[in-house]
């Protein structure tokens, strides 16, 4: 998204449409009662989650308001008491190292060294899962988790939203850990 938004500015293009992020829409739809999510599924289980604030979305585009939307969605879905912040966060968050083309750059060792700060930040929360609502973040944090041997699951937000509405299908669970593999099936 950032590449298009920044490109519009740089190349002085005025589009006939607006740019929107699904994260903001999730939040709006939940507030409007159109997306009936619930954290009941997690009341007994008590699985804990932290969330990565994607640089492109938060610091580089909408700032803290979208980080608040993101937290609202996450808390609605997993339960407020099961959400743990990493620090620093929101607009001040550390990049995970999945951006800037790193994943394709061939500098794998450097990419993982860069991501080490993010890895420690996540591990320090003690959360069972990391939610990564951006593709590059997801790929990078997943790699950090596996490569370091920590093996914490890294999930997309849409997975948890559907899980919380009881409509996550059997084939849609590749990134869930064993603890949640059959919840709501």
């Amino acid at each position: 998204m950032y590449a298009v938004r920044a490109g519009l500015q740089k190349f002085k293009i005025t589009p006939k449409f607006e740019i929107e992020s699904i994260i903001r829409l999730y939040a709006r739809w939940i507030r409007e009662g159109r997306l009936k999510v619930s954290s009941d599924w997690n009341r007994e289980l008590g699985v804990t989650f932290t969330v990565q604030d994607p640089c492109q979305l938060v610091r580089k585009t909408y700032g803290d308001p979208v980080a608040e939307d993101l937290r609202f969605v996450v808390k609605s879905v997993v339960g407020e008491e099961h959400f743990i912040e990493m620090y620093p966060n929101k607009s001040n968050n550390y990049c995970c190292g999945g951006g800037g083309g790193y994943l394709q750059s061939g500098y794998t060792e450097e990419r993982r060294a860069y991501g080490d700060r993010k890895l420690r930040q996540i591990v320090e929360t003690g959360a069972d899962y990391c939610i990564a609502p951006c593709h590059n973040c997801h790929s990078q944090i997943h790699d950090l988790s596996e490569h370091s041997g920590k093996h914490f699951p890294v999930v997309h937000l849409w997975t948890l939203i559907c899980l919380s509405m009881g409509c996550l299908g059997e084939n849609e669970r590749s990134y869930l850990g064993e603890d949640l593999a059959s919840v709501g099936l």
Binding site: L8, F17, S21, S91, Y114, W158
Partner: protein, 242 residues
């Protein structure tokens, strides 16, 4: 910090002046207080013995050769945390971008170069070279599977190039190519709220490596292709999955 001192003869930086000329207020690039806030919060600090403050100092001291040959420019993600932390809001990532752009194109990292070139070759703009007809086929196939296995979703629809849809949804090509089932939860959410959305067969791939490659012309080509795709369908919003 136990680092051997490097002897540097200060010079006028051609590179720095060039970048400053491009930016409003010179990007504040000459206002550095050398406080180090940028470096202490930068995850790339220390890689290849470089950090953002040092990079800027080397520019300021005219060490163009060192700055323009350092592979570190590919290890900064241009995440802008340093800009956010800097008391003078100095735009270091912009400096990094221009330093990347100063590399001969063929010397830039092959993976990024290849991803940008793939995107240019295909109307999909997919960095993985995904073709639009494959996307349409995979989406249709997965949709049928879902309807069969999960009858509650019998009415769910996935359209392509539907004029006048409110939202034009783009999709990272990783999904149709390597994990198509990951698209389904998103479709379910959109269906549940009654969102009026469509995919397109032009410029639908969300990723953009030409910007990371610092290839202005290619980046512009891709952005214009995407803009045209959304405008041709008359969609009101260009919707991102992130």
């Amino acid at each position: 910090m136990g680092e051997a001192a490097t002897v540097i003869l200060p010079k006028q930086s051609v590179f720095l002046s060039k970048v400053m000329d491009m930016l409003p207020e010179g990007g504040h690039l000459s206002m550095c207080l050398t406080c180090g806030l940028c470096a202490s919060g930068c995850p790339a600090s220390g890689l290849h013995d470089m950090d953002p403050r040092k990079f800027l100092r080397l520019c300021a001291l005219g060490q163009d050769e060192m700055v323009l040959s350092s592979p570190w420019v590919w290890m900064c993600t241009m995440c802008q945390r340093c800009v956010y932390a800097c008391p003078m809001a100095i735009d270091i990532p912009r400096l990094i971008y221009e330093a990347r752009a100063a590399w001969p194109r063929e010397d830039r990292p092959k993976g990024i170069l290849g991803s940008c070139d793939q995107a240019l070759k295909n109307e999909s703009n997919s960095a993985m070279g995904a073709r639009s007809e494959d996307f349409v086929f995979v989406a249709g196939d997965i949709l049928e599977e879902v309807k069969e296995a999960q009858p509650a979703w019998e009415d769910m629809q996935v359209s392509f190039n539907r004029p006048g849809a409110e939202y034009f949804l783009n999709q990272n090509s990783r999904e149709p190519v390597t994990e198509p089932d990951e698209m389904v939860p998103l479709w379910k959410i959109l269906h549940t709220v009654g969102c009026d959305w469509t995919y397109g067969t032009i410029g639908w791939a969300a990723e953009n490596y030409c910007m990371f490659l610092a290839d202005d012309a290619a980046w512009e080509t891709i952005v214009r292709n995407k803009v045209k795709a959304v405008e041709d369908l008359g969609c009101r919003y260009w919707l991102n999955t992130e």
